[in-house]
């Protein structure tokens, strides 16, 4: 476990690295009797996030409550909808943003986790590059694609995009190559 302390946040952010997460038993396997089953690894399950309020915006209580309700739904489509609206950078209370994103990163549905990665990258949250790096280790294509999509063209982002060029899935490699090409122009 690595402890990252952000002085401006005043809140220690605990980041359990992927190797420890694996050791802690976060490799989930489907029913062994299912021949098609494969290991599912949620690389984001043990991350603790911290998001700051956007001081330039006053939070919209109605929108915050609506998104909280959607995010609590039993229907994964509703949860994805909450996160996609969150990605739109609406004026949502920072505490609610953090609660929704934290729960979504642990969601059993990979599409929800993927949308959480993108939404998190759009918000004023700490350690986004580190979280995206973790997301690139996820077993689910949708999560890794969203991580690549969310990477910026700065030095760290470019390094992770280079790393994604060797992903096992063509779609991830394709998106990483496109982003690198775009950033080099």
């Amino acid at each position: 476990m690595r402890i990252v302390k952000k002085p401006e946040m005043g809140i220690p952010i605990l980041v359990m690295m992927s190797s420890l997460a694996v050791a802690a038993g976060n490799v989930l396997a489907n029913d062994a009797s299912n021949a098609d089953s494969r290991a599912v690894f949620n690389s984001l399950e043990s991350l603790q996030i911290s998001c700051n309020a956007n001081e330039s915006q006053e939070s919209n209580r109605e929108l915050s409550a609506k998104l909280m309700n959607l995010a609590s739904s039993n229907n994964p489509l509703d949860r994805v909808s909450a996160l996609s609206q969150l990605a739109g950078k609406g004026s949502v209370d920072a505490n609610i943003v953090q609660k929704i994103l934290q729960a979504a990163l642990r969601d059993p549905d990979s599409n929800v986790r993927a949308q959480a990665v993108y939404a998190l990258a759009q918000q004023n949250c700490a350690d986004v590059p580190l979280i995206l790096e973790q997301a690139l280790q996820d077993s689910e294509l949708s999560v890794r694609l969203m991580a690549v999509d969310s990477l910026s063209a700065d030095e760290k982002g470019a390094s992770l995009l280079e790393q994604a060029l060797s992903d096992e899935e063509e779609a991830v490699r394709e998106l990483a190559a496109m982003k690198l090409e775009t950033s080099s122009k």
């Binding site: 994805v80 779609a171 496109m178």
Partner: protein
């Protein structure tokens, strides 16, 4: 490609038959997603417009909602080209450019009568986009008539 329901089977979409005081509203929704993630992925549906008793079809109209917020945007092309396309266009396109809301893309209309319309769904770059297409066949007086959707290709 994940198809909500049975893959490559005819989906006579009669979801959401709602009768209210305002009258009958028929909703024909086709949900899908590009699970390969590849930018080249194209989902292909055929929409059959037929007279179900409400009247002879004059046109098909469609719009799409991109349900995944990311850089990739989902768009549709509705096409039918069995007659010369001089008076009426044989194809129209529409893209949902804002994927962080619940709104659909602009409604497009292709006026080519009864028969089979091609509906192509694509996305602008790699990503696992999910989408929902609304499609209706209507008469010349804008009355909803027979509509069925068949999935032909899922990528």
């Amino acid at each position: 490609m994940k198809f909500s329901g049975l893959k490559n089977t005819v989906a006579t979409v009669l979801g959401g038959l709602m009768i209210s005081q305002a009258g009958a509203v028929l909703a024909h929704n086709q949900a899908g997603s590009f699970t390969t993630g590849l930018a080249a992925g194209i989902d292909f549906y055929q929409v059959s417009c037929f007279d179900d008793g409400a009247g002879a079809p004059s046109y098909a109209e469609a719009q799409v909602k991109d349900m995944t917020a990311n850089s990739s945007k989902v768009g549709i092309v509705l096409q039918k080209g069995t007659t010369p396309c001089t008076a009426n266009k044989c194809a129209q396109a529409s893209t949902d450019t804002t994927d962080t809301d619940a709104a659909y893309s602009p409604l497009i209309r292709v006026t080519q009568g009864s028969g089979v319309y091609n509906l192509f769904v694509s996305h602008s770059t790699a990503g696992t986009d999910s989408y929902d297409v609304q499609v209706h066949c209507k008469t010349a007086t804008n009355v909803h008539t027979g509509t069925s959707v068949s999935s032909k290709q899922q990528q």
